[in-house]
């Protein structure tokens, strides 16, 4: 129900902030999406779309952190393992 899918903005139209809309590309499938809740989003940005509305922009820098966090945790865990050898 709260499913929201990331897609890339291809076009933006409409000057009225309430009617701001555009075409969003979900890996080849395109849909018309209301963009009034992401007033700063530009063409090329990724947005999360829920029932025809973009509800958030996707931050590319933050997106990579899931993987770097894992690396940090992995490194830390290895350090701890080396420091405290199990009997």
């Amino acid at each position: 129900m709260c499913l929201a899918v990331p897609g890339r903005i291809v076009t933006i139209e409409g000057d009225d902030p309430i009617l701001r809309a555009g075409i969003v590309d979900f890996s080849g499938v395109t849909k018309r999406v209301n963009l009034s809740y992401v007033p700063d989003a530009k063409i090329g940005d990724f947005v999360l779309v829920h029932v025809g509305f973009a509800i958030s922009t996707v931050d590319e820098e933050e997106a990579a952190k899931v993987f770097s966090y894992l690396r940090e945790m992995g490194d830390l865990a290895e350090l701890v393992d080396q420091g405290e050898p199990k009997p």
Partner: protein, 374 residues
């Protein structure tokens, strides 16, 4: 698909599972709030990657599942009227009412239509000025901005043959209701990421402090969930109880403010009944009095219907994290997705449906091997 596929990577998932095993020293029970997360957990077997000490229980986070029987009955009554075009998200059509569902109304000749967005319903109203178009506005905070916009646009365009049957629920009051129950087993929460894209997460800070539970705002892909579990267990092991944000690629601390503004313009906070749970104070949204003309309950005079839930369904206990679907005597026997007794068996995000679809083999009393999926 970008921002999806990379978060399903098996190797990284196992990395998280290993890291989690290293830090877990005790038994911890966490609740994922959102039904979308429940679905992903059961589908991808995320729970099977966790160390034996870490248990996930499934929360009330499926708006379809918590819509009370009396609202379904109101929907059925309105949808059956000849002048009405009743529009809904597809999930609601098979939720059982007292003796039939919306799909049965449709088969009997009712004009019931599945729409993708509430704005589609507004467009239908514009095209059919001689009919009454009603949209079944179900959802959490994630969906509220879309439904608010539908009413707002209808009002701006002077469309008068459009109304909402509102069944909006709010997540933080439900989490508090669960935590304040004496029987609760929940020690930490994975908060629903998409609810937080709209609302931010400041509302959770007093809850984390008052009940001393860590709350981690979490996304929906397997790696998101594993990282959310890791962050939550890490806090528990370290004796911390803070609000942390795993889903920072989509969630900002104060959420989406233009969306919140329009929600406040159109809706106000009201008490709401949750199916299987009962009434929770200040746990839902209703239309502001200035939008009364768009309230289908007033328009069709169905405000005062009250109904009790069927007794055999234990979905209320499941959604409070007290039972698992396979502990229900009706599970996969009397109750199946084809003949659901409760809404948690209907929606793909309902815990019962997720278990039925992906875990039935493990629980089949006859031990017959059955295919997965529909």
């Amino acid at each position: 698909m970008k921002f999806i596929d990379e978060y399903r990577d098996r190797e990284s998932a196992e990395g998280y599972a290993r890291a989690l095993r290293r830090i877990t020293t005790r038994h911890w029970t966490l609740m994922e709030v959102c039904g979308g997360q429940t679905h992903a957990i059961v589908k991808f077997g995320v729970d099977e990657l966790l160390p034996p000490g870490v248990e996930l229980v499934h929360g009330p986070g499926c708006p379809v599942c918590v819509t009370p029987l009396e609202l379904i009955e109101k929907a059925i009554e309105i949808a059956a009227r000849p002048e009405v075009i009743f529009c809904s998200f597809g999930d609601m059509l098979r939720v059982p009412g007292r003796d039939r569902d919306l799909l049965a109304v449709k088969s009997a000749g009712g004009d019931v239509r599945i729409v993708y967005s509430p704005l589609d319903a507004v467009t239908i109203a514009e095209k059919h000025p001689d009919r009454e178009v009603v949209f079944f506005a179900v959802g959490f905070e994630t969906t509220a901005p879309a439904n608010a916009m539908a009413v707002f646009q209808a009002a701006q365009k002077g469309i008068t043959n459009f109304s909402l049957l509102v069944s909006h629920v709010l997540v933080p009051p439900a989490m508090e209701a669960i935590l304040s129950s004496a029987q609760t087993r929940v020690q930490g929460f994975l908060a629903a990421g998409h609810v937080c894209t709209v609302m931010g997460f400041t509302e959770y800070e007093p809850i984390a402090a008052r009940y001393k539970v860590p709350i981690v705002v979490t996304g929906f892909e397997p790696l998101d969930i594993l990282q959310g579990v890791f962050m939550c267990v890490k806090q528990l092991e370290e004796g911390r109880h803070e609000v942390e944000n795993q889903y920072a690629r989509a969630v900002r601390r104060h959420g989406n403010q233009p969306a919140q503004q329009l929600v406040d313009e159109v809706f106000r906070v009201v008490p709401r009944k949750w199916r299987g749970v009962g009434e929770i104070p200040q746990s839902g949204l209703g239309l502001q009095p200035r939008y009364d003309a768009y309230d289908a309950e007033l328009k069709f005079d169905v405000v005062h219907r009250v109904l009790d839930e069927p007794k055999e369904c234990i979905s209320g206990l499941i959604m409070q994290g007290l039972k698992k679907p396979n502990e229900c005597p009706a599970f996969a026997g009397v109750c199946t997705p084809e003949h659901p007794l409760g809404a948690t068996m209907v929606s793909s995000e309902g815990a019962c449906a997720a278990y039925y679809r992906y875990r039935r083999v493990a629980f089949d009393p006859q031990g017959e091997v059955q295919g997965h999926g529909r």
